[in-house]
Symmetry: C2
Subunit: 386 residues, 2 copies
């Protein structure tokens, strides 16, 4: 099976229109990946995701390792088959959740030893093990294990973590090749077409980012991620670091900005050459009643919507906007109905995925600059319920 391949079809400034081909289908880029942490994007069914235009989802290795376990998933034919999702899947390495969720974490050169936040069981996540788990899960894109920084980090701390991440990248890549060659006993390779992306670290330090990009590219991956951003730094700094890092990555490989961001962030980072994004913002905010619309953000529990018969977003064609009023959505939210989470998630994901579609159209027609200007103007003009 051919590994993942990527083609840039056209550009507009630094923005790129591309196609990512995988064993489970093609992803139009720039792409947003809804987060399906435990093998399900919270509150929505796969069919709705597909209808909303999701061409790829992200799943979290840390969570799946703990429950139901990569062994079980592999035995049942891999993640696609286990969860019943036929389109591409990207899995993260687990490193970020070990850093943010796990207990009694001890990180050494070998890897991260931690206790599950669910049941206290001990696990060791090394660059090799991260590759093994993702091979068993059988995602289309696996991520190398990197070391996440405790913030705020000094330059020295960032340099140490970056250097270790570079060594781990080499180990992870070596293991990935061994897995592909069938040389790792006891690991089922659920998806022979799996690709592996490296991750550039280095915090907000320009020279470290350059060094990390160089080292990661030297190892050689099917794609490159920019990690460790959107973790509290000012948004303009995030844009700058993302842009300068993207510049240093090979033009013929996809660039993935991890864990970012707001709709404006997506537009701004596409403008700086990023191709792929993931973020919990649309799904998590939806469950909290925070909704993205073409006229700005809405907090649906606001009393002003109590008898508002209009749709959430008149410019949106999602199920919630076609069938229900703001008044009803507010009622469902205040009444604690699960359906509030379902409808709000459908809407926010539709908004994100529509935004990506509009971004791609704008690049294709070489009108991205004016699209960007107009998008940011309307986004900043109206934060309706702030």
């Amino acid at each position: 099976m051919a590994p993942v391949s990527f083609t840039v079809r056209s550009t507009d400034g630094d923005a790129r229109l591309g196609e990512l081909r995988t064993a489970h289908g093609t992803v139009q880029t720039p792409a947003f990946m809804p987060v399906g942490t435990q093998g399900a994007v919270k509150a929505v069914r796969h069919r709705e995701l597909e209808e909303a235009g999701a061409e790829i989802i992200l799943a979290n290795t840390y969570h799946l390792l703990l429950r139901p376990g990569d062994e079980l998933v592999a035995r049942l034919g891999g993640l696609h088959r286990f969860i019943g999702w036929a389109r591409p899947i990207l899995t993260d390495s687990g490193g970020f959740q070990v850093y943010s969720l796990a207990q009694r974490r001890v990180v050494t050169e070998d890897g991260a030893d931690f206790q599950s936040h669910l049941d206290g069981t001990r696990h060791l996540l090394t660059p090799e093990r991260a590759a093994d788990i993702q091979a068993q899960l059988g995602s289309d894109i696996a991520m190398v294990l990197d070391e996440c920084l405790a913030l705020p980090a000094t330059r020295e701390e960032a340099a140490i973590a970056m250097a270790r991440s570079a060594r781990w990248a080499e180990r992870g890549r070596r293991r990935f090749h061994a897995l592909r060659a069938g040389e790792v006993a006891g690991v089922r390779v659920s998806n022979p077409g799996q690709a592996q992306f490296g991750i550039v670290q280095g915090g907000v330090f320009r020279d470290l980012r350059h060094e990390s990009a160089e080292a990661t590219v030297a190892v050689g991956f099917e794609g490159y991620a920019i990690g460790g951003l959107s973790v509290g730094e000012p948004v303009e700094q995030m844009y700058a670091v993302a842009g300068e890092t993207a510049e240093r990555l090979p033009a013929d490989r996809p660039r993935y900005l991890m864990g970012v961001g707001t709709p404006e962030d997506l537009v701004e980072c596409v403008a700086r050459g990023v191709d792929m994004f993931d973020c919990v913002l649309p799904t998590r905010n939806a469950r909290n009643g925070q909704l993205f619309t073409s006229a700005g953000r809405i907090n649906i529990k606001n009393a002003r919507y109590a008898d508002d018969e209009g749709p959430l977003d008149p410019e949106c064609g999602c199920y919630a906007c076609r069938h229900h009023s703001r008044a009803y959505l507010r009622h469902l939210y205040l009444a604690g109905e699960m359906t509030a989470g379902v409808l709000n998630t459908l809407h926010n994901l539709s908004f994100y995925l529509d935004t990506m579609r509009r971004i791609r159209d704008a690049i294709a027609f070489r009108t991205f600059a004016s699209f960007r200007q107009e998008f940011l103007r309307s986004a900043s003009r109206l934060s309706l319920d702030s």
Copy 2:
């Protein structure tokens, strides 16, 4: 607008195949009404309900009175428009929830004075007020206010409550006529085609049931409900009382057994002449991982399903059964994913609504007796995870 009308199209023994025509469409009977307490059937969207074959849903007057309030619903054009559901809706009177949920309840001949379980506000629910609220909600079928019994009840207590319910039925019906004639100031009649059903009470006492049926029929309603059953009495007694009460109701009016029941209860009570049912069992059990299948009940968290790649129910055509394995459904449930509630609810409702379809087909082909025998045999044979 014509009020609700009912036609019995054919019978098989005491089982009846009928059509209930309302201003919002026709309901094939025997029918099961999914419970949409707060104007939403928990966890599923209206589209899925329609796809599963729900032709009518039930909403709870008590909950809607407290939130968002019948005034608001009326101002926004009635419940159908407010919730975006175009098919028929039945509303209960609120009496049962005042009895089971409200605080500091004082019931007098006038009505029930109670405090909201949400915010402690005081409300008075009289037979007239119950009719007014439901007129404002604009359901297709409104229920008269009745008095619910604290259990276990003596014959004397049951007789007193039954007699009061009969007096309330007269008052409720008088108000219903006044509303229809436009004689009640300050109340918006959201649905001029609304019908009103009376409720037969009398506990498990045969003579009281007979007396209540006679009194309720004497008042005259578009349909008749059998209330106060499935509240702890042995199931055989419930069947007997339902059957004997149904016998005493006019053949040309729909008969609705309130709050019942299991799939077997539905079959058994259709056999005794009941046309309509509602129950939280399929939806509530779904959220607790208790699933109904053609081979018996399943508790999806059971370890035996951990690597079961088969569908929940091979004979079911619902989305969950077509797209997902028991292993994945178990994983979603254990992982606490909302999608577990969504998929399980879809399945259980599909099972219930399919059962009703099969019941109707069996009556149409006059094979109901053998259908009933076979259904109960397979249901009792296998309670898989008990």
